[in-house]
Amino acid sequence: MSDFDSEAMADAGVENPKLPPHLELRRTRVLCKADAPTSTDTVQYSGAYASLGVDNSLRFDDFRNNFRVQVNRISHEDMEFDMVGVDPSIANALRRILLAELPTMAIEKVLIANNTSVVQDEVLAHRLGLIPIKVDPRLFDYLSENDTSNEKNTIVFKLHVRCAERGQRLTATSNELTWLPKGSELLKTSESLTSTSKPETYTSFTCSQDSMPEFAGNPISVYPDIIIAKLGFGQEIELEAHAVKGVGKTHAKWSPVATCWYRMLPEVVLTEEIEGKKAELLKQKCPANVFEIEDLADGRKRATVARPRACTLCRECIRDGDDWEKRVSLRRVKDHFIFTIESTGALPPEVLFTEAVKILEDKCERVISDLS
């Protein structure tokens, strides 16, 4: 069996015959029928079509020629781009890395000095943890278990709010979190009281973070206007929050993306001419407004697919009976991904994506070096 395969591969190497159209369609498209989608899997095995003399292996040169990226939209917090010519396994790996394995900084430890608000300490700490911190995580190290907090692995914020006016209510927002570049200001009380040495705080910074070139004139801030708590008269919150580096698989607060997803490119094909009343009906059936009516020279009206990208594959157009399913073919292109990244603000989305690819490269490198 194996000998046969490799021979067939060698033969097919020179000129690769094309697959018959019905197989090519199933290889490259998901077919969305009224009851269920079919041919949803990707044919990965290189010898899948060996009996037809077709080589299914993807050579790197082919990949390089076919792969393309087109950016549709980009801003400081989100971007959408088309990634064409890549297998779902790689697109999905990148999506998973973006969600769970790209590091950011997030508040991990909260030292509460005083909290008389109605928000309990643990709830407050959890809320603080979820506030995105606008800082490049690449400038920091991970804080491992035996490390002490220093200026390379911890960011300290202070929050001190008090509602002083009778009959008033005060909303504490993330704007009130102030960065402490010199580290913690809270003193450790217990055993160090008797010693004559310098009073110890909860961090040991050797220098002030704002003296580092990265942060000089560029103070670390958090995402503004997030409500932390509402205080009634006389209520007070005084705390210190320590942010450390982490990844999304430990806790979602470290995920650098609000979300990140892709969808395969929809393809809508009219397998026969749809004219007159039927065309009107088809246009009206589609809630995503995919179809348009075209006036032909002889006064007839014909349906056309004007906006296939808008198709949500709701399958409303092929619901009424078998004949509609024969007229309209809904498909998805298996190797065309419309990728969307929404950043939480730590890094711009395009940087997130390149970092994600780098992480996948690192993983490969680890495999290679393990085997060498």
């Binding site: 194996s2 292996s57 990226v69 396994s89 790996a93 993983k363 085997l371």
Partner: protein
Amino acid sequence: MECASFRDQWNATFILAEEDHTLANALRFTLNQDPQVIFCGYSIPHPSDAQVNVRVQTTEKVARDVLKDAGQHLMLRCQHIRGTFDKAVDNFRTKNPPDDHPSQNMDSD
């Protein structure tokens, strides 16, 4: 990485520690694209353990080298994806100059 091959070098199971579907599925894809590979698959023995078993069965080259090649291939692909992506972003930026990017100062590199 642990390699368990009981019978011969052409049929082996590799245990990748601290990995999950992210790498394993991408690796399986690249391995399957290699004409040397007869069979390739992966499994996660227990969802609580961060570990994947990758099974590779090959024809001529030993499984170890084929897996290494697959890693190399995947890495090359990633590099190409990164290059193409960066170019596409630059392209987009020159065509659509940013009018307001309030947090562009975050874009350090």
